[in-house]
Symmetry: C2
Subunit: 271 residues, 2 copies
């Protein structure tokens, strides 16, 4: 597959890279349609925020241009951008000056079973808990062992995603998705200031719901609130929206607000 | 510098490596003296434990042989071993079967100011808190953004190390060291079952102290307990033991148990 390192075709990088050594970097996975990256402004905005918080230099025009050029070559599929703090010497201290490394990897458009979007998915209740770390919460950084452990908890194809909670039992997100509840016509989604990844599609759907005049609440919700919700759905910037049809003893049918937001996501992702 | 990937000289690795993508792996940094890795059994034991917890295949004879061969070539210095879950496709699910990747990097023997060992070091009080994640605690895994953030908190050379606490205020470790207190002749060190890295030198010193008949306690200690200690010292498997001579308003002189354990560490590391 197509792969660039620092703007040049390459499938290799230096073993000294701090992304490898410490997970010292960030990433974005972006759907590419007809040679263009989707939701690019939102992906770049999240990346800019992450870079500011990790004190990584952020060159928006360079990244935008490179993502666009790469997407033109890819045509259809997914581009994954990894930004790292570049090569390091020994030790945790960030090198001065920092030479950020850019890694772009292309992959084919993922093929999910159509019933995930149409009928909804069954959520696996992960026992892996997300640790509370406000300094890293919300960012799509490269320290993802919690997700690796959580995704290892089930192998069957009956469960398309897993539910992750924090140590206090709050529901936070899916392993590779964000989580929304609908209750009494309002849209609810977990606060991600202690842990979790603030997804680009989550931000987009919150903005779209506000435009539709739907009441939105970002807050703390326990498993009881989730099981008590009228509708539950997941989202990310590759598949759009998946209704949740089952978790533990609870079943849901696909609700109207889920379908409305799913249609909006589908338009954006051309799915 | 000397660098091997999967047993062959190379300074590059695949951009698909899950060590880069997710920090999905472990590492060890080992002092090499006269062509041999020091404390090798303890390093391999910690790695075996980490591999078991992350469900990574562990081939002890292969790793031992490779570390010994690499060290013979290096002569003097430090060998860093990184083990990753190898190349991945997209997504967090571990590939089956897993082809573990082995990366060995050599570097020169680090040169620390001699007064660190002789007179002791001043500890910087980091504000970065370690998140509590029992599933990852103790392991030397590749998710090290907390250490990167903590080490970024000071630039001056007055502070040789930083003190890290957890969210509840317990003292846990240094940024790249473990922490010991001496109180009433007993050796105390923080419990690392919620967060922190269980260092090889820490394990060695606990074993040596027991042999000396010193009472040892692994437990929870707040900042007050640290400031109230008779002696405080740091250790790791590269520099051995550094006495702590100052933290916040508190000064210490170097105590007798610190000196005794420092001498033992020096013997092991030939420093």
């Amino acid at each position: 597959m197509l792969s660039w390192v620092d703007g040049r075709p390459s499938e290799q990088l230096s073993v000294k890279d701090r992304g490898l050594a410490y997970g010292d970097g960030l990433f974005e996975t972006i759907a590419v349609r007809e040679g263009a990256p989707t939701l690019l402004d939102r992906h770049l905005a999240r990346l800019a925020d992450g870079c500011a918080r990790l004190c990584l230099p952020f060159d928006a025009p360079l990244l935008r241009g490179e993502l666009q050029a790469f997407s033109r070559q890819l045509g259809e599929g997914v581009v994954k951008l990894i930004l790292t703090r570049g090569d390091g010497l020994r030790g945790y201290a960030p090198p001065q000056p920092t030479m950020v490394r850019r890694i772009l990897q292309g992959s084919p458009k993922p093929t999910y079973p159509t019933q995930h979007a149409e009928l909804g998915v069954r959520l696996f209740p992960c026992t892996t808990r997300l640790a509370e770390q406000p300094l890293l919460a919300g960012m799509k950084h490269l320290n993802r062992l919690e997700q690796v452990l959580a995704r290892s908890e089930w192998q069957d194809s009956e469960h398309a995603e897993g539910l992750m909670q924090d140590g206090a039992g709050r529901v936070i997100e899916g392993v590779f998705s964000n989580l929304f509840l609908v209750k009494g016509g309002a849209l609810l989604t977990p606060d991600l200031s202690r842990c979790g990844v603030a997804g680009v599609m989550r931000a987009e759907l919150l903005a779209q719901a506000e435009t539709l005049g739907v009441s939105c609440e970002v807050g703390d919700f326990g498993l009881d609130a989730l099981l008590d919700a009228d509708e539950v759905f997941l989202c990310n910037s590759l598949y759009g929206v998946w209704p949740v049809r089952a978790l533990l003893h609870r079943d849901w049918s696909v609700g109207p607000l889920t379908r409305k937001l799913q249609a909006i996501a589908c338009d954006l992702l051309d799915c």
